[in-house]
Subunit: 470 residues, 2 copies
């Protein structure tokens, strides 16, 4: 092995030698039992004093890298090798993920190579992003920001801005003390659930529903029960009495798209009061509303303080900023902040400051209005296709809002086959089948119109029509 | 109540009226049982047709906000009020945090009003932050960044940059596939624990140890066992055989500051192999090393793939950027990414891109070298005071690295009293007492030298000396 000592470096030569030998041992270039070159010989080879080599060897022995050898001299110790009983080849059993994670891999991947039209649901159009305006906010935020650990509930400036904004845009009653800034809607759901639930608690979700949230509850070790939905939304009468949290998407049911009716909203709140359950209201994309006005959110209807309202800036603004929020009942605010401080503490300060400025300057409203106009065009193109050329093969329920439409496939068509054939033509969509849990799954397509261009969408739908017909 | 209809707005007048009355009801300005002004009278007052008012009232009745009244006319319905059985005054039982969070509040607060010298441990100096260089990186990142959902393991560019950096600076063997970008070190510990552990599993920590991590494991529902430390670090022989994770700070034990000796490192790895446990090695601040060279990290000594190495940019760079990382054994990389995608997904894309540029341009190394020189001066001021004027009252163990020194108080001095008297003089420190779990707690001070100025530190220590003497 090569040893190289540099007398000019300022490091003692013995230290340099020790360091290089240790690396050779831990790096496996010297193996347990290997004999170290006798100190006299090595000193001569390197042109250093024997004392230098002896010092380095002495330290290696003292620290257990080497041991004295019966015949004189030193050998590499046995201990840097893997401890006895360890299988070098297989992973340690200790490193096997808990059972509930067996075989998990990320559910969302970038569009595959060859994708021309990304028609997956829940994705905004990245080309609408107001890069220059945002960069200005971020640069200003970096210049002025506090460099210390911040408030685990989020910067007060951003909490005020978001509280005003949801009060204005969605009639949600939020104060700065009951609003928590998170890194997206699911992060909010995670924090609330961790504070409220014990392992094995029952959580009720819509069926069909939003798979990532179902998986999140599963990851939290909860028992997840799917509850059917009908035209009015979640069928409250079928809720399991033991549910401690009911997770719903009342403004725009995911994936089917209906709005939960007002009587059903009241029934859900009455049910929650009777069974002492909390309700998580996920309002993930109703800023993009094309028809009618929104109904009062559950959070505003709730007088007993058991509704958690979660929102995200991933659709209204961009998934890349990773910002969302929860409006929580007062008793939850402090425990969530305490828990949060132990985990990720808060989103980057500059991003929070920048978003506060962006909202306060009216730029978010402007961006949403502009985006809504663009998405409305695509929404109309898609609804017309679904009630026209595609109507023979797809039965769609036209939603009032959002970035996708769910459509059931006519009998005889295989969801898998349609998805695969479409993908071969460069069109990527999601299937409805996977959104079902206990209810009998119905084959269908979730057709998103976020990232696809307005000029490209008719082409994509034309191709889809030909695929369905053949 | 004021009703205001705007005939120019383009909204139907009936809709405007309905909206305002609904808000009045849900906002509590109209209470259950309140009689609505008769439609004929209201129409006259507002100067609209009676049909307009009747349409608005009809919708309120249809949606359950109002009901027909026996004597004719309409009254506000009972249902917007809290459902029966709910106590308006107290919080819903459903909203009580789980038992393990009872009474929790954030453990770290901004320095109190009147604080002149923040001598708390674990805080870097915010005035050292290279604002201009960082702003340039962030602005460039915002301009060019991807606007889609990103890789839940972190951007490949940043993973490569960090992997190279830890290999270079700490001899950690990390590939881009086994490195996960997180929002700080504790976020990494949280993710790893969630993937590996079942509720109630035993986790071993150092005693005294780092309280936030102890609390995090408690929040995760784990059984936390404190294991004593001696001059060589964690006493491996005292580890509980059932521990599934051993959490250690070998480079710079928190809070006492010793380095885990090489024999002890080997013993810990042998123990982990024999008991099939995982080891989390938290290397939170050893980039600031003033004496001697670092020993090989456990991660590099480990041949059986059971060590998770976690690091943070909160001390080396800034807590406000909220970035850290974990180097994980291969079998954990995919489940962590899958779990992560369900929670916060990834740190903001622009922050990741900016840090990658900052590291690749050599600016992080430069920043650390510059900071180390500044902290080294403060370290020497503090160690000299501890071996000089303060030695009568404090027994310090001088660490090789970090941003604080732990010092035991001489018999007879009360930790609480010293901390309170110091706080009254504008000096904020942390106590050692709270860091102990099972071991008999020893009173002492944790004296940080991060955020205090080099010129202010002697003044602060002079005041501390007078407080201790009196």
């Amino acid at each position: 092995m090569d040893l190289f000592l540099d007398p000019e470096s300022g490091e003692p030569l013995a230290g340099q030698l020790y360091e290089q030998l240790r690396r050779a041992i831990t790096g496996g270039r010297l193996l347990p039992g290997d004999r170290l070159v006798p100190s006299r010989q090595l000193a001569a080879e390197l042109g250093v004093s024997r004392h230098t080599v002896a010092t380095a060897y002495g330290r290696l022995v003292a620290e257990g890298y080497a041991e004295g050898h019966a015949g004189g001299g030193s050998v590499v110790a046995a201990s840097p090798a893997p401890p006895k009983g360890v299988n070098r080849s297989g992973p340690a059993a200790a490193l096997r993920p808990a059972r509930r994670f067996a075989g998990w891999s990320p559910y969302f991947r970038p569009p595959p190579y060859g994708c021309r039209f990304d028609l997956r649901p829940g994705l905004p159009d990245p080309t609408l992003f107001p890069t220059l305006l945002w960069r200005r906010q971020v640069a200003a935020a970096v210049s002025s920001e506090h460099r210390e650990y911040g408030d685990p509930a989020g910067r007060i400036r951003l909490r005020r801005a978001v509280a005003d904004w949801v009060a204005r845009s969605r009639s949600v009653a939020a104060g700065e003390d009951t609003l928590v800034i998170t890194c997206g809607a699911q992060h909010a759901i995670d924090l609330v659930s961790r504070v409220l639930l014990e392992p094995g608690d029952c959580v009720a979700v819509e069926d069909p529903g939003y798979v990532p949230v179902v998986r999140l509850f599963t990851a939290l070790g909860m028992r997840v029960v799917g509850v059917p939905v009908d035209d009015q939304g979640l069928v409250v009468d079928l809720l399991p009495p033991s549910a401690r949290i009911v997770y719903v998407t009342p403004s725009h049911q995911y994936p089917l798209g209906m709005t939960m009716s007002m009587p059903r909203r009241r029934a859900l709140l009455r049910w929650a009061a009777r069974h002492d359950a909390a309700v998580i209201e996920d309002d993930y994309d109703t800023e993009f509303r094309y028809v009618d006005r929104p109904l009062e959110p559950l959070q505003a209807l709730d007088a007993s303080g058991r509704v958690v309202y979660v929102g995200s800036f991933s659709k209204t603004f961009s998934p890349s900023v990773r910002l969302g929020f929860a409006v929580v009942p007062q008793p939850l605010a402090e425990p969530i902040a305490a828990l949060r401080q132990l985990i990720d503490w808060h989103p980057p300060t500059a991003m929070q400051t920048a978003l506060a400025g962006f909202i306060n300057d009216g730029l978010l409203d402007k961006h949403i209005r502009r985006s809504r106009r663009v998405y409305a065009e695509r929404y109309h193109i898609l609804t017309e296709a679904l009630s026209g050329p595609l109507a023979d093969h797809l039965t769609a329920r036209t939603p009032n809002a959002g970035l996708h439409i769910a459509a059931f496939l006519r009998r005889g068509l295989s969801e898998n086959e349609v998805l695969h054939t479409a993908a071969r033509s460069g069109i990527v969509m999601a299937g409805l089948h996977d959104c079902f849990q206990a209810s009998p799954a119905q084959p269908g397509l979730l057709i998103g119109f976020g990232p696809v261009s307005t000029t490209g969408l008719p082409t994509a739908l034309g191709t889809l029509g030909r695929i369905l017909a053949s």
